[in-house]
Amino acid sequence: MAATFPSLRRLGSRIPRLTLPSWPWRITWVYLTLMLFLPLGGMLLKAARVSPAQFWEMATSPEALATYKISFGLSLIASLINGVFGLLIAWALIRCRFPGQRILDSLLDLPFALPTAVAGLALTAVYSQEGWLGKPLYEMFGIKVAFTSLGVAIAMVFISLPFVVRTVEPVLRSLEKEQEEASWCLGATQSQTFFRVIFPQLLPAILSGVAQGYSRAVGEYGSVVMISSNVPFRDLITPTLIVQKLEEYDFAAATVLGTVMLLFALVSLLIINLIQVWGQRYQGANAAN
């Protein structure tokens, strides 16, 4: 037995190598190198040519700081709003039956499917001062939406809406109804059942969705650039500032800002992964119970 075991294992490890032609592996690496590693490395190399002091100065110039405040701040507000409404919509889709459910479900994919320029045009059309919603808002409350930071926030809400719904849906579907019934039998009220039993289980999914939506909203360009007036210190977002720096041939500043955005993307990817690991652990504990 002890003699045959290693040979079996060797055989097992040889099978995939035999069945797997090596060219998919090669295509993958060549493609990734040309399309991802080379551009990434190029930008980091360019960023490394800027001295650390200069890098810090450019990354924290008043102009850049103002765009961070708008990009990172408004995205946070937008993704938190979607955290609340996304949970509500996911609940409606999974736990309720109502006419037009299928349509609502399909509509939620529209922000993913619609080109961002079209989304920007659509939102500007609705929220400009002649728009369906922009006109009453301006006439009744004096609120301008398009071409202000409020408009930027609405564009961010639009593009980050599906994330929370789509991450919460599967978890909500897999929740066992028995838990709620047990909680009910033990005398918990409806709100106690929700906040003590259901919500903690949904939390990792909600956070993951919010983080994904946040990351997407921070990087968003197409829809925001159309609904914003792109005035520095008012509603200019960081990606637009990068484009403006490139148009001014200020490659160094664009590189620095691009590197900051890249670092943000990497950190948020890490956080999203950590949240998902945490969520899986939760699920595992559930299954074991």
Partner: protein, 303 residues
């Protein structure tokens, strides 16, 4: 069966499962949740979508057709289609190659590699465009010498547009196919191998058919995004009307130039593409589920 055991006919089905707590409390809460959800989606998503269609056809169908026939819009449409025709097959080959190479292999750093493939989804499209500029700009790029020596125009021309679109869209295919391949396992491929098929035959006759709907879905997502990509392309294209402008860039440019009719005309075309892709998505999801159902039933039948 029934004739042998006639008691079965008189057997009443078990009482339906007790409705759950949330359903039993038939208060106002569920209807409020549905109402608020519908209202929110209606305002945030549906209303803007309808506004585009209404604006495009505000003056009737004839002016819409007129603006679609405009030369600049046609040029933009041609460039967008050319872009997609190059990008989609290239990314499909990569996606399938990456999926067959990665999916059913266990190796150190597999999770990292999967995250790397997903990276373009988390990087801002503008930064993707910037990276291409920093590589291929004839004045400031890392490859400036090479670009000038070869005499090819990459930046502010079709090659850069294609490159930008490839980077932004390459994760879709791999992302759709990898989970399915991992679920499937190796049995069929191994059987085909033992029966004497070569690697190409195994891929073409066994692997690809088993993931066909997921692959098609990945291809549709890639196409939709390739046709609609804005940020990355806008940084590298130079945005010259009639020459280096894709349809999404044309939408923004026309709107900025107060050619609202042209802008909305082009936007409706792009929205049509998006809606068609959503319909195909629903269709393919049903086909996928059907495939899965038949597979599990055949497995249980074997057992």
């Amino acid at each position: 069966m029934t004739s042998v055991t006639p008691t079965l006919e008189s057997f009443t089905p078990p009482a339906p499962v007790k409705p759950s707590f949330s359903k039993r409390v038939k208060g106002l809460v569920p209807s409020i949740i549905v109402l608020v959800s519908a209202l929110y989606v209606g305002i945030v998503i549906l209303l803007p979508a309808i506004a585009v269609v209404v604006q495009a056809f505000a003056k009737g169908i004839a002016p819409f057709i007129e603006s679609v026939k405009s030369e600049d819009l046609q040029a933009a449409l041609r460039l967008t289609l050319l872009d997609a025709v190059i990008v989609v097959p290239a990314n499909c080959i990569f996606g399938l190659a990456a999926a067959t190479a990665i999916a059913r292999r266990q190796f150190r750093g597999k999770a990292l590699l999967l995250s790397i493939i997903d990276l373009p989804f988390s990087i801002s499209p503008v930064v993707v465009g910037l990276m291409i500029v920093l590589l291929y700009s004839p004045t400031n790029g890392l490859f400036a010498g090479l670009v000038n020596a070869l005499g090819v125009k990459i930046l502010f021309a079709t090659p850069a547009i294609v490159l930008a679109t490839i980077i932004v869209t390459f994760p879709f295919m791999a992302r759709e196919v990898i989970p399915l391949l991992e679920e499937e396992g190796w049995d069929q491929e191994e059987a085909a191998k033992t029966l004497g098929a070569n690697s190409w035959q195994v891929f073409w006759k066994v692997t690809l058919p088993s993931v066909r709907w997921a692959a098609l879905y990945g291809a549709i997502l890639t196409t939709a995004r390739a046709l609609g990509e804005f940020g990355a392309v806008s940084v590298v294209s130079g945005n010259i009307r009639g020459q280096t402008q894709t349809l999404p860039l044309f939408v923004e440019d026309a709107y900025k130039q107060y050619d609202t009719e042209l802008a909305f005309g082009a936007a409706v075309i792009l929205m049509g593409v998006a809606i068609v892709s959503l319909f195909l998505k629903i269709l393919l999801e049903q086909l996928l589920e059907h495939d899965k159902a038949t597979r599990t039933s055949s497995i249980t039948a074997e057992e």
